[in-house]
Point group: C2
């Protein structure tokens, strides 16, 4: 399979050339580079990818939803056709186990098909019709009809921690293509081979379904320069990103400083607070510790929804902490996604450990080998937590901070937290009801509230919200997981006084697509 | 009535004090100041207004939609109770005729009641339910439910050109209050008396319906300092603004540079291109000129949707232009909203008139008196139009530029236009169909497409889109008119695994509110 990897960008229906090697995939467990060399897209290639996307937009955005759905289904089928390639290359490049890669392949094709089914059903466009009232006094009412339309070409950055489900053909790409937006993907340096395998699959699907050239391109490049150039290109109309806070805020600044500012959907950092109430401990401290440890160490802790911050009422939970200590000490270091994440995690853990007032509950007894991250749990008083800004930061890996205070203090501290993807409460139903104001405070800080479970494992469905107030994301009005993600790449457009024959099918009087619409204020 | 004006800010349920006079209303036609002096809110008052809004948010946002609807209806009733005061003070401060002020009062109360009815019906929250599948392999599916929830306290800036419908209790305030967001309004210096009359009405309505103090405040202040301080205050979560491009982009920059960036909905500038195809001329050039002149001069041309740019195929429309010339020459200067708008309009007209290649079609024969703006129409070749950036700018008043070129050239020029609120085509149905690519290009540049009518007169309804790509607005994904405006002030929140009793009513299993919901992917 490796012999079929070319190491070049995909520019519409052509492959890139150039000679500026930007890197290779790394066999993370062995620390050894993998074939082939990857070559940066040239400036001309970047411009051509973006201009092809702009040229493809009028045709692609005008395609019936069912035709775009066919393209998404073809991508899913092409990805399934290379599932073995992904399962063999993936574990090398990412350090993730093969089972995870296979699972993520299924999640990726599942997302593509979820959006395909949304397009096939068709009601997502929020079609609204208000009929004319020519005799209305003092002025006649015009016929006005509206629906959601795509923004234009979108730049998508691959994520290191979801090399398939949030990379080349992941959630951002699927939702943007579904909306009717051509996509220019910027590959992540830590899994170039997976990117190429998936990118070639998308290109084959586009060709097979007759999509206009430029509906998809994939660019390799060193550092951030290629990506930043794409974001600054005038034809790009939105950006999807999953990664670090530094990377996300740099894209936000670049997008805001364009001559035409554009929206950036950056999913950045979250420590996903968990509040444990006494009733949850009463149900069984050992089981709770086991469940928490499982969530904390899943995927070597490299999920945006990793539960990195736990509020535990002071004077409770001795057995929970004891069990957690033994689990952490007996735990295993795991290979992390890439060297820079591994080094950053080690630094973050040491910074927490050496902060005044922070106590080490437990650290993994087995030392981390090269490229590995090892579990660790710390604790701190609530008062000290609120004083030390550093402790609100993320340890991106299998480490958590346990904050001790009274329940009253915990509730008072919630508004001091930064924006989060998730917030979790463990307790009884009666406690949840009794602490309604605590839950309301958590709601104001997060996109998803969880009761008696842990935040890892983000269900891909119509009701999922994987977003939250800054800095969890750049734009808390959106979700990057689930079918609502399509709303990031559209805007409403109204047609006034148009003859039926010149309206989009979604807005024609006879409702030829049979979609749900609001007609004269009534949901029909 | 004037004797009841206090000239002070409204801080929750108190009135402001302070002694720093920031100005008076001006009798625009006479150029004479009106009683009373208006006093700037102090920094302490500004902080108190914002902190009261934050304190009110948990209670206000948790009220049932029907209770918030009652508040909106009470505001509408209180405004109707002061309709005579508005009709007597308004024409003085704004230069607008009494009939316009009475019409705008009706539009304002109509908007409030439209949002009230939206809340009473309840389905706007986009409730989504996915039921748990505990037996699903390989992992169980959790119960996940989502709906839209308010962002938090919102800052609203009053508009000079809609002293009621986009000011203290206008569309931004109505949609934010409907969403569940407390509002801090910053008064516009050019109609302080109207602002106080309406602000006092809102305060009475809030008291009468038992709203938490801080759900509404109204601040006076000199220059931009008070407004900028509100936008920069950490508790403010969104901004609504209608005004100049300079003002809007300054707010965008301030919001982007906060520690937590927040969304700004600024409706700024638009020249609202109109394309006239030969079939429209064939139907009657004189009638077309009359309709265009009526739209151009409505409200002394001070509408965001004023048709300031007309593409007329070269070699056509002699009779249209002749009639337009006679209408403009015989037209009347009108009193403008305030002195600075009047001076800016005069400067913009002179800048157009003195641009190389611009020909004066007609100017009003009656010279503009103090504070007045007079109709003017210019023309230019399409080639020259594309060369001179200034000509894409707005003349905010009753003036337009007619651009002459072939239809092919006109279509090619559309993508060069900046983002617009509206784009209009006049022609036959056959022409509209034949020029589908021209219409598609206009769609990409505007929020509302109009056929055979003019863009002034923005219908307040469920399907209206009064928004458009930058710089027409700061965020083309939104509308400031119509019921979709509520979506600017909300974000989706998901509840996972929550017991029914702790869910919002909208998401409870039995659907106690009887709203439309999506259940397991099916619109029910």
């Amino acid at each position: 399979m490796t012999s079929s990897l070319l190491g070049t960008s995909i520019i519409g229906y052509s492959r890139g050339s150039g000679s500026d090697v930007c890197g290779r995939g790394i066999h993370q467990a062995a620390g050894a580079p993998l074939e082939p060399d990857y070559v940066s897209a040239t400036t001309e290639e970047m411009n051509r990818a973006v201009e092809l996307a702009a040229a493809a937009f009028p045709e692609y955005s005008a395609l019936p939803g069912k035709v775009r759905a066919g393209f998404l289904r073809a991508i899913a089928a092409e990805i399934e056709g290379v599932a073995e390639d992904l399962a063999s290359r993936g574990p090398l490049e990412t350090g993730l186990p093969e089972a995870r890669l296979r699972g993520e392949t299924g999640r990726t094709t599942g997302q593509l098909r979820l959006f395909a089914s949304l397009l096939e059903e068709g009601s997502w466009v929020d079609a609204r019709i208000e009929h004319a009232q020519p005799d209305r006094a003092p002025v006649p009412k015009p016929d006005v009809r509206s629906m959601l339309r795509p923004l234009g070409p979108v730049a998508v950055f691959c994520a290191s921690n979801f090399p398939l489900a949030f990379s080349v053909a992941g959630g951002d790409t699927a939702s943007a293509l579904a909306a009717g937006c051509p996509v220019v993907v910027i590959a992540h340096a830590s899994h170039p081979g997976l990117a190429e395998i998936v990118g070639a699959a998308v290109m084959r699907a586009a060709l097979a379904t007759g999509m206009p050239e430029g509906v998809f391109s994939l660019l390799y490049g060193g550092g951030r320069s290629i990506g930043m150039s794409v974001v600054q290109h005038p034809v790009i109309q939105a950006v999807g990103f999953t990664g670090s806070r530094a990377g996300g805020t740099a894209l936000m600044a670049a997008a805001a400083n364009r001559e035409q500012p554009i929206p950036v959907y950056a999913e950045m950092s979250s420590v996903n607070p968990v509040v444990i109430l006494p009733g949850a401990l009463a149900r069984g401290e050992v089981a709770l510790a086991e469940a928490f440890f499982g969530s904390l160490t899943l995927g070597v802790g490299q999920f945006c929804t990793n539960p990195g911050l736990v509020f535990l009422p002071e004077g409770t939970g001795a057995e929970f902490l004891g069990k957690l200590k033994s689990l952490v000490e007996a735990g295993s270091p795991g290979t992390m996604l890439n060297g820079s994440i591994c080094r950053a995690f080690a630094d973050e853990v040491e910074a927490f450990a050496s902060t005044e007032g922070v106590e080490t509950i437990a650290r993994c007894a087995t030392p981390a080998g090269p490229g590995q991250g090892a579990p660790a749990v710390f604790s701190v008083s609530l008062r000290r937590f609120l004083e030390a800004d550093l402790l609100q930061g993320e340890m991106f890996g299998p480490a958590a901070l346990i904050v001790r205070g009274s329940i009253v203090e915990i509730e008072a501290a919630i508004p001091e937290l930064e924006g989060q993807l998730t917030a979790t409460v463990h307790g009884t139903e009666a406690e949840l009801a009794a602490h309604a104001s605590l839950v309301a405070a958590l709601q104001q800080r997060a996109g998803r509230l969880i009761f008696n479970a842990f935040p890892t494992g983000v269900e891909v469905c119509h009701s999922m919200v994987h977003g939250g107030p800054f800095p969890a994301t750049s734009d808390g009005r959106s979700t990057s997981v689930g079918s609502m993600a399509i709303h990031r790449f559209v805007r409403p457009v109204a047609w006034q006084g148009f003859p039926d024959s010149c309206l989009p099918a979604e807005l024609q009087e006879g409702n030829p697509l049979g979609i749900r619409r609001m007609v004269d204020g009534v949901n029909a």
